[in-house]
């Protein structure tokens, strides 16, 4: 198992951040063990945390039966993949034992909003990650005609 610094450096979202930004984010991440069958976020509940996968497998269930399986260490489960306007839009179910790092949503957004350069880096990496991991999320957004990009 990795520590938070290792996993942030490994993550496609956070690896492009500078050392200072990574150090600023580190204290907000709290490690949690996950077990098969655990539901770590439920649609329509208040969104309190975003998650960074350390190991294990998580099923992210979206609207209309769509879903994504996340099993790569460093996968970030947050922003529009997880929530909109402070409410979880998807349900996260654990399929394989492992661990995640939970970061309070408000604290995470506050940190990235404080630093526009870091925010731009994260958002650019996030778009690439989303295109690779769940390209259909954009399709859903287009269908609904809603831009969720800045309403996490």
């Amino acid at each position: 198992m990795s520590n938070i610094k290792e996993i942030l450096n490994k993550s496609s979202i956070f690896s492009s951040l500078g050392e200072d930004d990574i150090q600023r984010l580190e204290p907000f991440f709290e490690k949690r063990e996950i077990h098969p069958g655990d539901i770590i976020a439920k649609a329509d509940d208040a969104a309190q945390f975003f998650f960074l996968l350390n190991n294990g497998t998580v099923l992210l269930a979206m609207e209309e039966g769509r879903s994504v399986v996340l099993n790569t260490p460093g996968d970030f489960i947050g922003l529009e993949l997880l929530s909109a306007k402070g409410v979880y839009k998807t349900t996260l179910t654990v399929l394989e034992k492992g661990s995640v790092f939970a970061v309070p949503r408000q604290a995470f957004l506050a940190v990235i909003q404080e630093n526009s350069e870091a925010a731009a880096t994260i958002m650019a990496s996030w778009q690439e990650y989303l295109d690779k991991t769940a390209p259909f999320v954009k399709i859903v957004k287009k269908i609904e005609g809603i831009s969720l990009s800045y309403n996490f």
Binding site: G37, L59, A61, G65, R66, S67, V68, T91, L95
Partner: protein, 149 residues
């Protein structure tokens, strides 16, 4: 004849050197065995690693078909996991070709399938269930037949 004189006369120095060498070699061998014992215990706990060791010697450029076979070979299904996979295959028959994974999991849970989350994860890891790129999944019957039947 006593002391050093007696030792010299009866090859005492040579015998003691041989003795010391035998004891020292024994201790070195024992320490090497103990230091590598964790590897043996790891294999004991996870026998699928033995197959992986032999696979590692094969050439890197492999065809897609061969890689698929390798994934299946490395996946060691226990009898209960095979049973779980077969139950999932029955549920799949009631669904469309491009099915919803959360819906499949829900069906497995209401059908009271044992270890439904872990069994579903095994099917994903062995590429028996694969994503179609639009948020839905498909069932690879051929892969399932090779791995389970």
């Amino acid at each position: 004849m006593y002391g050093l004189e007696a030792i010299n006369a009866n090859n005492g120095w040579a015998i003691s050197v041989v003795g010391v060498t035998i004891v020292f070699s024994g201790l070195v061998t024992l320490s090497l065995v103990i230091s590598q014992l964790y590897r043996v215990l790891a294999l004991w706990e996870n026998p699928s690693k033995i197959k992986t060791l032999f696979k590692a010697k094969q050439p890197k450029n492999q065809s897609e078909e061969f890689q698929e076979k390798e994934i299946i070979d490395q996946a060691v299904f226990t009898e209960s996991q095979k049973e779980g996979a077969k139950q999932f295959s029955l549920l799949i028959r009631t669904m469309e070709n491009h099915f919803s994974l959360p819906r499949l999991l829900h069906l497995a849970q209401i059908s009271d399938l044992k270890n439904s989350h872990s069994n579903l994860n095994n099917l994903l890891k062995t590429n028996i269930i694969i994503p179609d790129g639009s948020g839905f999944f498909t069932w690879e019957k051929e892969t399932f037949d090779k791995a389970i039947l």
